[in-house]
């Protein structure tokens, strides 16, 4: 893929991730548990990693988190998003090569788990209340469930994209 095409594709993917992120932020929380969300923008991170590579996925993720905070989040949650996002990204990078194209849901579930772990750790460091750990079990469960969901979405999308010969 040429440099220009790659750059354009990365910009497009970032825009899509941002849009998903902002729209998801408008959906009211389904359960009264802090930190639980679908994480639909994760689909884009996975797709980018598969189509373009790890470095590119990292770049798209960072820009999305920073601009997402400007557009939708509050500055004080940037730390939590970033901690979760970076940890999830690292887990994705490390595990992706062990799983095939039809096993992206596993990679994504592990990333979801890592995301929530990172978020909880950052939260614990900031609020200095160990009681926050009470949320660890439910955050682990939600990380896996939403991870499987977004991973499957990425898997189906990747299949379609390959058929369309992007």
């Amino acid at each position: 893929m040429g440099k220009t095409k790659k750059l354009a594709l990365m910009a497009l993917l970032t825009a899509i991730a941002l849009t998903i992120f902002v729209i998801e932020n408008q959906i009211p929380a389904p359960v009264p548990v802090p930190g639980v969300k679908l994480g639909l923008a994760n689909i884009v991170t996975l797709i980018t990693m598969k189509l373009l590579g790890k470095k590119e996925a990292g770049a798209v993720l960072l820009v999305r988190i920073l601009m997402g905070t400007m557009f939708a989040g509050s500055p004080s949650t940037l730390l939590f998003s970033a901690a979760g996002g970076v940890l999830a990204f690292l887990v994705m990078c490390l595990t992706l090569r062990f799983f095939g194209d039809d096993q992206l849901w596993i990679v994504s579930a592990l990333a979801g788990l890592a995301h929530n772990a990172g978020q909880l750790l950052a939260c614990m460091l900031v609020v200095k209340t160990p009681g926050v750990l009470a949320y660890a079990p439910v955050l682990a469960a939600s990380g896996v469930i939403t991870g499987v969901f977004t991973g499957l979405a990425a898997q189906f999308l990747l299949k379609a994209l390959k058929k369309a010969k992007l």
Partner: protein, 118 residues
């Protein structure tokens, strides 16, 4: 490939099941002292067993504003200026329970045992 997927699926399902089963069972504070803190700094310690009349606590900091409702034996957040309103939905916290958290405003209300000194 199929078998590997199945085993991973099983492991992940176990994590989900364990997580849901353990939720609410771990990390419950036992006692009657509610600790209200923002960004790691304790603002108030309230002995809920000594509250006779309900009152509101206005917690306004650099991170945001929450109205904390204190009543005999229970504490809750009735207003938050954050977008997600999760802390309001969490309802009342009484003698035992897991902490109420408002992440954007960095507010945590947890329950501790023991008496307040003095």
């Amino acid at each position: 490939m199929k078998k590997k997927s199945f085993l991973w699926g099983l492991l992940l399902a176990l994590i989900v099941a364990a997580g849901l089963l353990l939720y609410g069972k771990l990390g419950r504070g036992e006692g009657m002292v509610a600790v209200v803190s923002v960004n790691g700094e304790v603002l108030e310690r309230i002995d809920l067993s000594k509250v006779r009349e309900a009152y509101d606590l206005d917690v306004a900091t650099d991170f945001g504003r929450n109205i904390v409702h204190v009543e005999p034996g229970a504490i809750s957040v009735t207003h938050a200026d954050c977008p997600d309103q999760i802390c309001v939905m969490q309802g009342k916290l009484s003698s035992n329970g897991i902490p109420i958290i408002c992440m954007p405003n960095r507010l945590v209300i947890s329950i501790e045992g023991g008496d307040i000194d003095g």
